[in-house]
């Protein structure tokens, strides 16, 4: 589903050239749960930005569902982000003056769905994350864990090809952290691919596969024991968001 091959990204200022990613390659198949790990400054963030189509890269190729994304216009990239990627940020990034329902609604609005369509998707997503009872609460009225769950619902609502999570439990206390990870596993078991960037070994252990980045490159060093490397699902699995035609 996701194929990065020989990706390089160089940040240039007047004085310094930083090779954030060097010759980075990664393949992720449908239904995988991949953890991308590494020390700070290793290039994890850059990998996430590139994978999430938030930034462009200098050399190499990136194919998403077979489509080459390197020369796309801003319109096309935005559309791809909207339809295929579900972001989960470390600091949740919910919009403070919209309630939970409207927050989950945001990516759907850029898609030209009918009102009924959107409502159905939102309700389903909130159901999966267990926040249906707090649909009209404001983010400030939710705990950290609940906010992250709302963000996950937002990521799910658009039926993405994969979730891209950046330190999903970084701003959440340990009890809630477990809940969030349980949720991510559950979603993955229902068939959604998850790519998670983290430096936490506990989290990395819960993924099927670990990819370790050091100095912008994949390292063979595997500091953590993943759960089960051989657990690779094949082909299209049922997505939790599958719906019958309206």
């Amino acid at each position: 589903m996701l194929e990065m091959h020989g990706i390089s990204k160089i940040y240039r200022t007047d004085l310094i050239e930083t090779h954030a990613l060097r010759d980075f390659s990664l393949k992720v198949g449908d239904g995988e749960f991949v953890a991308v790990t590494g020390p700070s400054g290793s290039g994890k963030t850059t990998f996430m930005n590139v994978a999430g189509l938030l930034e462009n890269f200098d050399t190499g190729s990136y194919r998403l569902d077979g489509e080459d994304v390197s020369r796309l216009s801003d319109e096309a990239r935005s559309k791809l982000r909207n339809e295929k990627i579900g972001f989960i940020f470390q600091s949740f990034n919910l919009i403070p003056d919209l309630d939970v329902f409207d927050n989950v609604d945001v990516p759907l609005r850029y898609r030209r769905l009918t009102k009924k369509d959107r409502e159905q998707r939102i309700r389903s997503a909130l159901d999966v994350v267990g926040l249906s009872s707090r649909m009209h609460h404001m983010p400030s009225q939710l705990s950290g864990g609940q906010q992250q769950r709302a963000a996950i619902a937002r990521a799910l609502a658009g039926d993405p090809r994969f979730l891209l999570a950046d330190e999903p439990t970084g701003n959440v206390d340990s009890l809630m952290a477990r809940q969030v990870m349980d949720l991510l596993e559950q979603i993955n078991e229902m068939g959604t691919t998850v790519i998670m960037v983290t430096h936490d070994p506990e989290l990395a252990r819960r993924a099927h596969r670990n990819v370790h980045i050091v100095d912008g490159q994949i390292s063979d060093f595997k500091p953590y024991e993943p759960r089960d490397e051989s657990l690779l699902s094949s082909g299209a699995a049922a997505s939790p968001m599958a719906m019958s035609p309206a």
Binding site: E55, E75, S78, K79, R81, N93, R109, Y110, R112, G158
Partner: protein, 445 residues
């Protein structure tokens, strides 16, 4: 999508009511000042008979002092008015389609029975073509025939205001009224008429209303009337009788002609040049020949109807609007950039640059629409305040009517100006916010 953007815009504006109020207020104030100043400017400088601008001409001859031009600052201009001799002589020509000679006077209007207090009426003493030349609208009746000028017949046309005062607005055609203790028969009543400025006679300023009543030109001689406007003469003449006054070099008559095409214009120009040459031979018109036919728009410019004060005020109004808009742009920019984090999230979730741009443009549009409408309302209030500033005597509405007269064109222009200006001002901030790449704001430190 527009509906969604509208929702977001209102939500955003509500979030910081002080800032929103400041932006809308600044826009509204800038628009209001512009509306007020431009209305005033237009009242004094517009061409109220623009549809006849190519056929109406003011007639001037240079009969002035050979040693001293009439207008020291602009010696190439002839005096604004004609002598009685010259005006009546030029009226002999049958070249113009219509021709008018006239002057201002004052008479006391009174009605038999004394139940209504007599009123001092500003009077236009004019030949019959006045009404058709200047497209003066009638509510009842009409003007008089050319023969009435010769008589002169005791006929009179009332303005709407005078008819309201003496006859309660009814159809008074056929009734009688006293003008300076002489009986006149009403043949016409004008509809509401307010040409801005009163272009056919700007000798005494431009913020005036047209006259209260109109009587045929022949009454000047019959009643030995003097002009209530400007009377000027360059030559020291011993004038002791009215006849001597009529024959003198004193200028006090205005003349206008209607020449429908270039041919008639050339022929009439030749006619007056010819006349002036013959007068020169007879010893008059010692200055170089300078006989002009001036169209209304040029007439208003020559007469300097728009004064420096007006220009300064218009300049000031636009400077003020500029400051208001710059202020709003600055505030919008700050506001949008301050919310860059949220915009970054939307971008990450799939909003393209164009969608972000349009979203913010809608927000700008809301501010500019509210600001524009508010500005128009405040501008209207300002204009009313202007009337108060200009009205010294509440019973003497006079030119203040001109100021409060806001017509449809002005309103539409002002509204368009407001919307366009503020939208343009908001383009830059909306564009800027769209340009920011999403990645930068996600790891907001």
């Amino acid at each position: 999508m527009f509906g969604y953007y509208l929702q977001l815009a209102f939500r955003n504006l509500r979030r910081n009511p002080g800032l929103t109020a400041l932006m809308i207020g600044a826009v509204a104030l800038g628009i209001a000042v512009c509306v007020m100043t431009l209305t005033m400017y237009r009242a004094m400088s517009g061409n109220p008979i623009w549809w006849k601008n190519d056929v109406l001409y003011a007639v001037t001859l240079d009969s002035w002092d050979p040693k001293d031009p009439y207008n020291e600052d602009r010696p190439e201009l002839a005096p604004w008015q004609l002598t009685y001799r010259d005006a009546t002589a030029l009226m002999e020509s049958d070249i113009p389609k219509r021709k008018v000679i006239m002057h201002k006077s004052i008479g006391v209007l009174a009605l038999d029975g004394q139940s209504i207090k007599p009123e001092r009426a500003l009077t236009r003493v004019t030949t019959s073509d006045f009404f058709s030349s200047f497209d003066v609208p009638f509510k009842y009746g009409g003007g008089w025939a050319a023969s009435a000028d010769r008589g002169p017949e005791p006929v009179i046309v009332l303005s709407e205001k005078m008819n309201n005062k003496f006859f309660n607005g009814e159809n008074s055609v056929g009734r009688r009224i006293h003008w300076d203790d002489r009986v006149f028969r009403i043949v016409g009543v004008l509809d509401h008429w307010l040409p801005l400025p009163v272009f056919y006679d700007v000798n005494n300023g431009s913020l005036e209303e047209p006259e209260d009543v109109y009587i045929p030109f022949g009454w000047s001689v019959a009643l030995e009337l003097n002009s209530a406007g400007n009377t000027q003469g360059w030559k020291p003449e011993d004038i002791t009788t009215y006849q001597e006054f009529l024959a003198s070099e004193t200028i006090w008559i205005q003349m206008w002609v209607e020449l429908p095409d270039a041919a008639s214009q050339q022929r009439f120009q030749a006619f007056i040049d010819n006349y002036a040459s013959r007068q020169k031979q007879a010893g008059r018109f010692q200055r170089p020949l300078n006989n002009r036919l001036t169209k209304v728009d040029q007439w208003l410019i020559d007469n300097e109807v728009v004064e420096n004060d007006d220009r300064v005020l218009v300049g000031l109004a636009f400077a003020f609007l500029a400051v208001c808009l710059l202020n709003t742009v600055g505030l919008l920019l700050a506001k949008f950039l301050n919310n860059a984090a949220i915009t970054g999230v939307r971008r990450a979730l799939g909003a393209s640059r164009r969608q972000v741009f349009f979203q913010h443009l809608v927000e700008v549009g809301v501010i500019s629409s509210i600001g524009a409408l508010l500005g128009l309302a405040i501008g209207g209030l300002f204009l009313m305040g202007l009337r108060a500033l200009y009205a010294i005597d509440p019973t003497d509405a006079g030119g203040t009517q001109a100021l409060a007269h806001v017509d449809v064109t002005s309103v539409v222009t002002a509204l368009a100006l407001a919307l366009f200006a503020t939208l343009a001002a908001g383009l830059y901030p909306a564009w800027r916010i769209g340009r920011i790449p999403p990645a930068i704001y996600l790891k907001a430190q």
